[in-house]
């Protein structure tokens, strides 16, 4: 194998600008989709805990639908099919919008992660012993108080590690947005590759970006986990 690395071309002028733009979009995607996924996931969890069988069935099938269809397919669905489901005037409006790809990526990523997250959160809530809830009721606490002071703190502690690994998975999945030509880091670097043919350099750049993000997330998760566990003892 003989390959001459040429960093000066890739890291200069317009290309450097593309890479920085790509980093910005990637971080935006990661933060927005993860936050949305957690919010939707928690809301769906409350739906699945409902006493009403119909409501429960609806939310449970939502989870199954999210979990059993690939994330890439959700992204493509929101980009190509979703606008077509509306009346024609809205379809034209949506397809004319330049940020449609970005928002479809956000929608697809958070939808597909929300299914997993709500399973995780439900597991955390279910792991809280039933006796504690019964005892709190008999001590005269209201439903809201029980959620706030009895179930929630324990549930968060129970589901924190799997939640973090799921969010990291979601962060890695943001790279799929390149299929919709969202200007995120991998799309940007591949775009540079297609002009300059410096494939290895640009791939190394995006690799280091993902290693960095992953390191930061693992590090901060460890800090938060230590805090969570400290409050127990």
């Amino acid at each position: 194998m003989n390959y001459d690395f040429d960093w000066s071309l890739v890291l200069s002028g317009q290309y450097l600008h593309w890479i920085i733009e790509g980093l910005k979009y990637s971080v935006c995607l990661m933060v927005l989709s993860s936050v949305l996924a957690v919010v939707i996931g928690v809301l769906v969890t409350f739906g699945t805990l409902s006493q009403n069988r119909v409501v429960r069935f609806i939310f449970e099938s939502y989870i199954e639908l999210c979990r059993n269809i690939p994330t890439l397919l959700w992204l493509l669905f929101f980009y190509y099919v979703f606008p077509e489901l509306f009346p024609e005037s809205i379809t034209r409006e949506l397809n004319a919008s330049t940020s449609l790809n970005f928002w479809s990526a956000i929608a697809g990523l958070s939808l597909s992660s929300s299914g997993y997250i709500s399973e995780i959160v439900r597991g955390g809530i279910m792991a809280v012993p039933k006796e504690q809830i019964a005892v709190s009721y008999s001590l005269g606490h209201s439903r809201l108080q029980i959620w706030r002071y009895v179930i929630w703190p324990q549930a968060i502690r129970n589901c924190f590690p799997p939640l973090v690994s799921r969010i990291i998975h979601n962060v890695k999945n943001t790279s799929l947005a390149m299929a919709l030509s969202v200007h995120e880091i991998i799309w940007a670097t591949q775009q540079i590759e297609s002009i300059t043919f410096r494939g290895l350099e640009v791939t190394i750049i995006s690799t280091f970006f993902f290693l960095f993000i992953n390191y930061i997330m693992a590090f901060s998760a460890r800090l938060v986990e230590k805090r969570l566990m400290r409050s127990v003892n």
Partner: protein, 225 residues
Amino acid sequence: MSDYMNDFRFFLIGPYPNGELGGLAISLILALITMVSGFVLGMILALGRISKKTVISKLCGFLIETVRALPLVLVLFWFYFMVPLFAGKPMPIFFSAYLSVTLYSAVNQAEIFRSGFMNINRGQWQVAECTGLSYFQCVIYIIMPQALRNMLPSIVGFFISLFKDTSVISIIGVIDLTHMGRMISQRDPSKLVFSYMVMGVLYFVFCFALSRLSKRIEKKMRPAS
């Protein structure tokens, strides 16, 4: 109607008799063969990681952690660029896809293996050594049968996620189910909703059936352990 049936055949096997195999068949084949080769490679990596030799364990740990931090798309691009460089000539894309998904599946299965090995008492290793079994005999006859029992649900779970993740190979141009669906919907825009429905249903049916299977296995395993 027969037009739709014809398209449906494309979804399942691609343009097979008149061209290369594609569609759902290629997704399934890729998931299966990378599962098997990833299983073997993952086992080796996991054994290396718990090895007593520091160099080997550090090296395997580094490889596992690094690749696990990368999205599959990036691993795909690595092989997409590296394979022709090493081979010195253009190679079929499917080969790059196979190698990269194998690596991805190996590092993830290595983590599953590690947690399987961790659950086995250290005494088992020591006793096996005392009875005069070699390292490989010990792994194959003593450790693996016990570890595999505990790992089975996670292995099936990983296979489901691997099958879904293979949809990513459509990005570098392998004609898998996702790519096939996109091609059909682009060729005839009136079939847009139809083709995405078919794709969704096919993925859903397979993954849902497998996840039910893994739940059943888990239930069966529980009273034993």
